[in-house]
């Protein structure tokens, strides 16, 4: 941990010093006694301010609490705990300044600072304060370094100490809502599926496992035999039947000299793709393959689950657009890798080519606002 202490005179302090300088000049050169009195009355607060600020930032410790991962646009609350380890001197009006910066080349653009004020921190006590952050851009953000400063009590002098330990948070793509037409799209595909329907259990799924009874569970789910063996209630876990295989393919193309709007289109495509994957994983029962857009995932179908969703979101948090055509090679590879009947959903930043590459392919052009608006909404 690297610390850096800094003491500086604030802008108010410079005004104060200016007046004080005139007064000291008069007091010294003219030896006017009342000016000496006034000088003393002005110097004392300045010295007090300096001593108090320097003392205030000593022997402090800070803790930052934040989640490891959120989605863009989700409210983020970061808590900072300040502990005053001094035995006698309390601290007042201390300001902890935290820095938030997107890692990567866009860091200069996507960064901010936030001030958190601790009105008081009694000696030997801990106090907490927090801030609410909004991260609209996906990616990995770095939090820190934290700077604790004090200008107490007059704001003439500031003493600050910087703590260089950093924290990170992964901001996944923004998840939106799939609306009306999306459901029709899925249903139409299901009707056309050539895979046989497996038998479902009486409650709409296959037996998967057991767990303890929780309030809200229906009585019909209780597995009585196991409950008798354990001496407490256990319920069955059912897995919904897998009913489709879907390959979600990303085409994050943008022109060579891209404009900000082009990058926004890339972001929109990522967000839409993340929303599709989240929806499919929430529905469950299908197998998914996510590829394209520079993703390094294996070209094999995996069961749609929360685990998969987490992995995909983490990967989508880092994907970048390109002016290369990266979707064509992926499509060619998938021709042999995907089982027959696998639905292909291509989320692209450009219109679909004249001839669709596969009969089961749906091409979502995010630059077509009208079409996308019928499927997708985002807050």
């Amino acid at each position: 941990m690297i610390e850096r202490r800094r003491i500086r005179i604030c802008s108010e302090g410079w005004y104060y010093l200016l007046v004080l300088t005139f007064m000291v000049g008069g007091a010294v050169f003219r030896q006017a006694n009342l000016l000496i009195v006034l000088t003393g009355l002005m110097v004392a607060p300045l010295l007090l301010n300096w001593r108090l600020t320097v003392s205030t930032v000593r022997r402090l410790s800070l803790r930052r609490r934040l989640p490891s991962r959120i989605c863009a646009g989700e409210p983020l609350v970061v808590e900072i705990e300040l502990t005053n380890h001094r035995r006698t001197l309390g601290g007042w009006a201390m300001v902890a300044q935290d820095q938030i910066m997107l890692e990567g080349p866009l860091g200069e653009e996507f960064q901010t600072t936030v001030d958190v004020v601790f009105p008081s921190a009694p000696a030997g006590a801990s106090v907490r304060a927090g801030y609410r952050a909004e991260l609209s851009r996906r990616g990995r953000y770095r939090f820190g370094p934290l700077t604790v400063s004090s200008r107490f009590p007059f704001g003439l002098v500031e003493a600050a100490v910087q703590v260089n330990r950093l924290d990170e948070i992964l901001v996944c793509p923004r998840i939106g809502k799939l609306i009306g037409h999306w459901q029709d799209l899925l249903e139409s595909h299901r009707d056309g599926s050539r895979r046989s329907q497996r038998r479902r259990g009486p409650l709409g799924g296959d037996y998967y496992g057991l767990r303890e009874f929780r309030p809200g569970d229906t009585v019909r789910m209780i597995h009585w035999r196991t409950s008798a063996k354990l001496g407490e209630l256990a319920v069955r876990l059912l897995e919904r039947q897998r009913n489709r295989d879907v390959a979600v393919l990303l085409d994050l193309w943008h022109p060579h000299e891209a404009q900000p709007r082009d990058f926004d289109q890339v972001e929109l495509a990522v967000s839409f793709a993340a929303t599709v994957v989240a929806d499919l994983c929430r529905r469950g029962g299908s197998r998914l393959l996510i590829a394209g857009g520079g993703l390094e995932s294996q070209l094999r179908l995996q069961p749609a689950s929360h685990l998969l969703l987490n992995e995909v979101l983490e990967e989508l948090a880092a994907v970048q657009g390109s002016n290369d055509d990266r979707i064509t090679p992926v499509l060619e590879q998938l021709e042999t890798a995907l089982p027959a009947g696998t639905r292909r959903m291509i989320v692209s930043t450009r219109p679909a080519p004249a001839a669709a590459p596969h009969p089961l392919t749906s091409w979502f052009d995010v630059s077509d606002s009208a079409e996308l608006a019928s499927l997708f909404q985002i807050d």
């Binding site: 009342l34 009195v37 003393g40 009355l41 934040l66 490891s68 030997g124 009590p153 767990r211 303890e212």
Partner: protein, 842 residues
């Protein structure tokens, strides 16, 4: 009340105080008064009700105009007037700023202007009232600075206010769209963060009750620091240490025209402070009765070329050094601090001699019979003068009414010694002075009786009456009878209000006073008596000086003011008319002067030494504060600093000795040193006591905090030990069990018992295929643990071995489950598990 409102109120008070200080300092109070009123009006209408705010352009224009106008004044004025021009400019700018919308910058500018006003006031005004107001101002200014800091802190974390009617994001979404927000805002917005707080609670925390306590502590430390700095900062100048010398001087002219003095007499301006001490013991000398401080002698009464009736003194002569007192004569030292005077006259209780212990450079004008400053002191601007004279003018703590003639006090050696010892030149000089003395006495008895028929008739009548009563009545008896006539007669009234008094045109005012309009002030009474005495062949003269004064019991001094100015009469007594009891100190070889005061009391003099009660005490305290302020603040110069600060510090032992011997009644041989040491000792004792008290308070506070801290730590330690004792010795197999599960993120929550934890873990293992076989292990281990911990059972080696085997199996199963992709080990997600913590320490 939020922080800004408190700040605004504080600002109004500070601005009003600053303007008030400036108003006190300068004679023209119109603009400062406008500043005070503006502060209050702006607080109500601009800050609170927000009904009036000055447009910035208009404000700048007005400010610029004010600058131009004041600059013109400044260029045409000099010195003090220039400073007043600056003061007025400060007030104008302040008024303009007061009516603008307040921002932190405006608050700062107003504070700087107010501070500059105080600086200007300090250059213009040096009274103790300024010091008192300065202390109040300091408290207000310190609280303003603290509030401004808190206000800035609040502003720093508050989100910027969105003007009404403007939404946070522009409604430029293109329809149809996936969002109501443009994509640039959805995805391209930089991170935003906002401190979470409740404004009211936050403001309360910042400016609650702790703030006044902190301000009080800071003010105390500030004053202490200022006092130390002020006293210790070396001075090189020997003058008063004020930027502008006081233009107002006090005193009295050497020529008095009747009817022209009443305005000066009515002034309450301070003239001097007088303190008496026993010349031998150095102790305080208390004076009973009225105090008469003689100034000038007026012995010529005539009508001048402008038709005015004027009393004047003899022409000045080269002054000679004040004589030393007769050897072995007990006396009193008179210590005087005289305000700047235009004339060179000094005031003293007569007979006055050179002080033995603290000789001052004082002269005595032989012709005008007055004490004067040395020639060098009259050069340059008038300054406060300190001098000490020795006097034998007290008897039984009462001022004597009879004093020896100056001729005797000037040349005691020549008159009382053997004239044969004198040199021929000295003998000739003595003969010349003997002749002057006879001429003077003759002159003081001379009067043209027909010019004053009424006075002559009155004097004749009173003298005849006196001789009727006492045929042996001497000159003194007749003089006293004449004095009593004016003093006790109900025909005469004392007044300073001459608007209701009319004099008979063409008539001598004294004649008119005695015959027709018997109202007047002390000069009329004294003039009438002098002339009356002269009509009876008694040499007499008018004396002008000061009578009475306010006695300050705290500072042991008399405060003499201009309204204590007084005129009285001295009548000459021949040597054979003076008894030895009247002049025990000196032999009356050349006669003596008998003091006669014919003026009725009539409210002219208020003797505060006789007053008691709170008002008298307050008056004493005020006087003493003023004394300390003027002596140790305003007039602190290099000499005083050396005497009062450096020397006592350098001779620490002596100082300590003087501190502890104070009040013990020990006499000191050096009278002046004694008085100075006592005053210094008192100051140092107070300062030392305060410092000791402060150190003691801090020490007690720190010790109590330390004890409290250690006691808490000790208590926590004891509690920990007690808790450990309650838990008993650790059970190794259970420790291993807990550690093993913890490695796989299975931790017992504080709210769970061991059994509950085991049950929960067992259930989870049951539903996990890879762990179902070891699902019963937790329950077994915990049951064994309960037997050992709470059942005081001792497990057999076989049982322990079995448990260890179970734990091995459990460990292996958990490891295999973790490595298997299909079956993860059960986890007990802790509420905090989704949040990471980081610790940074400085």
């Amino acid at each position: 009340m939020n922080v800004e409102r408190k700040l605004q109120i504080n600002l109004a008070v500070m601005v009003a105080l600053g303007s008030g200080l400036l108003g006190v300092a300068q004679s023209n109070v119109a603009l400062p008064a406008a500043g005070v009123v503006s502060a209050l009006v702006a607080l109500i209408f601009t800050d609170i009700r927000q009904s009036f705010r000055l447009n910035r352009l208009l404000a700048n224009t007005v400010a610029l105009a004010a600058v131009v106008v004041v600059l013109l004044d400044f260029l045409t004025a000099t010195d003090r007037s220039q400073l007043l021009a600056i003061a007025n400019l400060l007030i104008c700018l302040q008024i303009v700023l007061l009516f603008q919308e307040k921002t932190p910058r405006i608050y700062g500018h107003l504070a700087v202007l107010s501070l500059l006003q105080v600086v200007v006031s300090a250059a213009l005004r040096v009274g103790v009232e300024f010091g008192a107001l300065l202390l109040v101002y300091m408290v207000v200014a310190v609280s303003f600075l603290a509030l401004l800091f808190n206000f800035r802190t609040v502003k720093r974390v508050m989100p910027p206010r969105t003007p009404p009617g403007e939404s946070e994001s522009p409604a430029t979404a293109i329809e149809p769209s996936v969002s109501t927000k443009p994509l640039a805002i959805l995805f391209g917005q930089p991170p935003r963060a906002q401190f979470i707080y409740r404004e009211e609670e936050f403001s309360q925390q910042l400016t609650g009750w702790r703030l006044p306590r902190q301000i009080a502590g800071i003010c105390f430390a500030t004053v202490l620091f200022s006092v130390i700095l002020f006293l210790s900062l070396p001075r090189s100048r020997e003058d008063s240490g004020t930027l502008f010398e006081q233009s107002r001087t006090v005193g009295m002219p050497t020529e008095i025209a009747l009817d022209e003095m009443h305005n000066i007499i009515a002034s309450d301006a301070s003239v001097m402070r007088v303190r008496f001490s026993d010349a031998q013991t150095g102790e305080r000398f208390e004076v009973f009765g009225d105090l008469y401080l003689r100034g000038i002698i007026l012995d010529y009464y005539a009508q001048n070329e402008r038709g005015k009736y004027v009393w004047s003194s003899s022409p000045d002569e080269a002054a000679t050094r004040l004589a030393s007192p007769p050897p072995g004569v007990p006396g009193v030292n008179q210590h005087t601090v005289l305000q700047p005077q235009q004339s060179s006259t000094l005031f003293a209780v007569y007979p006055a001699y050179q002080s033995q212990f603290a000789p001052d450079r004082l002269n005595f004008d032989r012709n005008t019979k007055r004490l004067v400053r040395v020639v060098g002191d009259t050069l340059g601007p008038p300054q406060t003068l300190r001098y000490t004279v020795f006097t034998t003018g007290f008897q039984n703590n009462l001022q004597r009414t009879v004093t020896p003639h100056e001729f005797q006090t000037m040349y005691p050696a020549g008159l009382d010694g053997n004239p044969d010892n004198l040199t021929p030149r000295g003998r000739r000089r003595l003969e010349q002075m003997e002749e002057e003395f006879r001429e003077e006495i003759e002159h003081l008895a001379y009067i043209t009786r027909r010019r004053f028929p009424n006075i002559t008739a009155l004097a004749e009548k009173i003298a005849a009456e006196t001789r009727e009563i006492d045929p042996q009545a001497d000159r003194a008896s007749i003089a006293r009878a004449l004095q009593n006539h004016f003093l006790f007669s109900t025909e005469y009234t004392y007044t300073l209000d001459f608007s209701q008094v009319s004099r008979t045109p063409g008539m001598d005012p004294i004649e008119d006073f005695v015959a027709h309009n018997r109202s007047g002030h002390c000069e009329y009474f004294a003039s009438a008596l002098v002339l009356a005495l002269r009509t009876q062949g008694i040499p007499a003269r008018m004396v002008v000086g000061y009578r009475g004064g306010e006695y300050n019991s705290l500072g042991n001094f008399y405060q003499i003011r201009q309204n204590n100015a007084h005129a009285w009469v001295e009548a000459y007594l021949e040597p054979d008319q003076v008894s030895e009891s009247q002049l025990p100190a000196e032999k009356s070889t050349r006669g003596a002067w008998m003091r006669l005061d014919p003026t009725p009391v009539g409210g002219e003099v208020v003797d505060w030494s006789k007053s008691e009660g709170v008002m008298a005490w307050a008056n004493d305290a005020y006087g003493f504060a003023r004394l300390m302020w003027m002596d140790y603040v305003v007039n602190m110069n290099s000499q005083r600093q050396q005497d009062a600060i450096y020397d006592p510090i350098a001779s620490g032992n002596e100082m300590a000795e003087s501190l502890f011997s104070l009040g013990s009644g020990e006499s000191e041989s050096d009278e002046a040193a004694s008085q100075g040491a006592k005053r210094i000792a008192m100051v140092w004792r107070i300062a030392g006591g305060l410092i000791v008290l402060l150190i003691a308070v801090i020490a007690v506070y720190r010790i109590s905090r330390s004890i409290k801290f250690k006691w808490r730590r000790r208590k926590k330690k004891v509690e920990k030990q007690a808790a450990a004792a309650r838990r008993g010795p650790p059970v190794p197999f259970y420790e291993r069990f807990a550690e093993l599960l913890a490695r796989h993120d299975l931790k017992r929550r504080p709210s769970q018992t061991q059994a509950e934890f085991a049950s929960s873990v067992g259930r989870r293992m049951t539903v996990t295929p890879a762990l179902s076989e070891v699902a019963v292990v937790p329950r077994r281990v915990v049951e064994a643990f309960y037997d050992v911990r709470f059942g005081a059972a001792t497990l057999s080696p076989e049982q322990l071995s079995q448990i260890e085997q179970d734990l091995d199996q459990l460990d292996a199963a958990l490891v295999s489950a973790q490595q298997s992709p299909s079956s993860n080990p059960p986890s007990t997600p802790h509420p905090r598990d989704n949040g990471r913590t980081s610790t940074t320490a400085s």
